[in-house]
Symmetry: C2
Subunit: 387 residues, 2 copies
């Protein structure tokens, strides 16, 4: 196992972790029922609200982003409830599966993988629901499997017009990467995960919950225990947890939220946007094709079609020669695309480096000329602060 090697993570999570955060992680644990830990929960909760731009409760769960989304769904809905699910990638598909597993009546709004969900489709279904039978709209903001960002702001405005339905949103690879103003957009349930924009290792996930969602939770009758958000709310009143939390990951969270506050939301979003533009413009200069609709590129991840080149072989080359880990395609996209994560603790140097690595691998395979390599780097640098 070469787990000690100098590997650069450019996958959509786990993302690179700052030294300071790793050091926080390796502190001796403290009792999770102690005053010291309550103080820590108080601070991290306050800073989580800052990150979410919300006055809503933000709950920390020990588990993955999937656990957080499941918690949001099962804590607010009941068997037979009608829900609308957006589905334009692997994660959209997963929320449909969860909804069906719990006996919800699911209406799907689909788009091709690589294309965004059309907000008008949501508007239409919600407007037609005169009886107000739709209890929730479930969707993914940044679809990690394809690198597409859905127009959550507009879709959320349609949900608000409906007034009865809750929004339950997977913001796992958007929160902490681009603007997700929970209160401004009126988002009811927002789920995210630690190993993404948060810059800490996997193991924690987060759920912001609006007053409207808590009202719905009172009537929810799906069976649940560990993932029952109501238990977390009750404990949060005393800055505590219903079940033993991953204490050391909370140390790390505290440190990373402080770093994020130091950088500032606007700067964080601008950095991710810069990196998105740098990668996508370089990719085009290299004659590769962006998998996602160019008008709807995720700030966190860029999916790239490799045409006749086997994407898995290409990833291996980049890993072996440059110690950069890229993500592959999932399901039917395996071997057809690779994905560059530019999420979390990533700087301009990382972006220039990954573009150089991709260029070099293409050059070695005689797919491009040195001229194009230069153009790709120039195109990228125009978006970066190195310019």
């Amino acid at each position: 196992m070469a787990i000690q090697q100098k590997l650069s993570l450019m996958i959509p999570g786990p993302t690179p972790v700052p030294e300071k955060v790793l050091q926080a992680l390796s502190k001796h644990p403290i009792g999770h029922r102690s005053k010291d830990f309550q103080d820590l929960v108080e601070v991290t909760t306050k800073n989580l609200k800052w990150l979410h731009q919300t006055k809503n409760d933000v709950i920390t769960i020990t588990g993955s982003g999937t656990a957080a989304m499941e918690a949001g769904i099962i804590s607010t809905l009941s068997k037979g409830d009608k829900v609308v699910c957006g589905e334009n990638g692997k994660f959209g598909e997963r929320w449909v599966k969860i909804a069906r597993e719990y006996g919800l009546e699911v209406i799907t709004i689909k788009a091709e993988w690589g294309s965004p969900l059309n907000p008008k489709n949501f508007k239409k279904i919600l407007e037609e629901d005169k009886q107000k039978q739709i209890k929730a709209v479930i969707l993914t903001h940044s679809e990690t499997s394809t690198g597409v960002i859905n127009d959550l702001k507009t879709i959320s405005s349609h949900i608000q017009e409906h007034s009865k339905a809750l929004s339950i949103v997977d913001c796992v690879t958007s929160l902490g990467a681009c603007n997700v103003p929970v209160d401004d957009w009126g988002l009811d349930i927002v789920a995210s995960g630690s190993q993404k924009g948060y810059m800490i290792p996997p193991g924690l996930s987060f759920v912001s919950v609006s007053e409207k969602a808590w009202e719905a939770a009172k009537k929810s009758c799906l069976p649940k225990f560990y993932l029952n958000l109501k238990s977390y709310k009750k404990s949060l009143a005393s800055n505590s947890n219903p079940y033993t939390p991953a204490v050391n990951l909370v140390f790390a969270l505290d440190e990373s939220l402080k770093m994020m506050k130091e950088e500032g939301l606007e700067n964080i979003f601008a950095r991710h946007n810069r990196h998105k533009l740098a990668v996508s413009s370089a990719i085009k200069a290299l004659n590769l094709k962006l998998f996602a609709d160019e008008e709807h590129l995720s700030p966190s991840i860029t999916a790239i079609e490799t045409g006749e080149i086997d994407a898995e072989e290409f990833r291996k080359t980049i890993k072996n020669k440059f110690d950069i880990l890229l993500a592959g395609g999932q399901d039917h996209l395996k071997g057809k695309i690779f994905r560059v994560g530019h999420l979390g603790y990533i700087n301009d140097r990382d972006i220039i480096t990954v573009i150089t690595a991709i260029s070099n691998a293409l050059l070695e395979q005689n797919k491009i000329s040195t001229q194009e390599v230069g153009e790709a780097l120039f195109a990228a640098s125009k978006h970066l602060n190195i310019n």
Copy 2:
């Protein structure tokens, strides 16, 4: 927040973490879909089987011990199933709550808090179930809230005689502290947690699952997603995980399991037994009362009645003066007992130190004489290797 202070954890979890394990925790994360991580899952799974003394699958979940128990229950049972729950403490009560939440028909076998469950009560109910309607027996091995260990070996033998019912056992504070030979005792589902005998911080939990339990899982129709053990089994076939696991805690697990193998199961069990005997004999010499039945003391935790002394004040004194964190009583026992955790990374010195601290606090309050302090230390040392 004094989270950097030199605090010694003698609570039933989080337990102290060895330096080597803390260092493993602070490594840069790796991709959870990488070959390196698969290699790590292969090794830790093999060593988890060693620890469980089993050929069964042992699954690692990112979540608390409660998540692991819930996973065991909801992955193998269906709505309306009849189950028998042992209930003689806070955790026993919790498994009853989970079973009822999911619509199981629960028959409880109770004992007073501080007393063990009577195996004969299980034998009787199981023998009377001629129609074999009981689908599972759910119980806690070491009841953390009271310091009682239940006679799992005998109870399990009665479940085996019944032949149809599964055993679903909370071994959260017994596994890695005393003998839990999963195959020898024929245990179907065994749940445990990282922040206990495993000597790593909280965030991971473990479930060992027998073939008989996997058979039952095929018929289980309770709704579940994140805690569906079948998804973990499928992924485990390729040393993978269905959802993003807490990668850094797995680094820590790898290290701690290696340490446990180096010490050896017999030595680990003997150490915990030694510490149990040292603490309980000192407590008696100090004229305090053991809360749990003396014949059924948990190897991991000793609960102590404080009589007219406020147990919470007593804990505070020990914390402030000696930097030793003890656990309080839960629910109706708050203020009436305190609990000394001697679980995981604890050595003879820690035991002598905590006895000294308790003695000193009692002496200062004029509750005992110097003669009794000496007797307590002498009584304890007879059981320790320092003798």
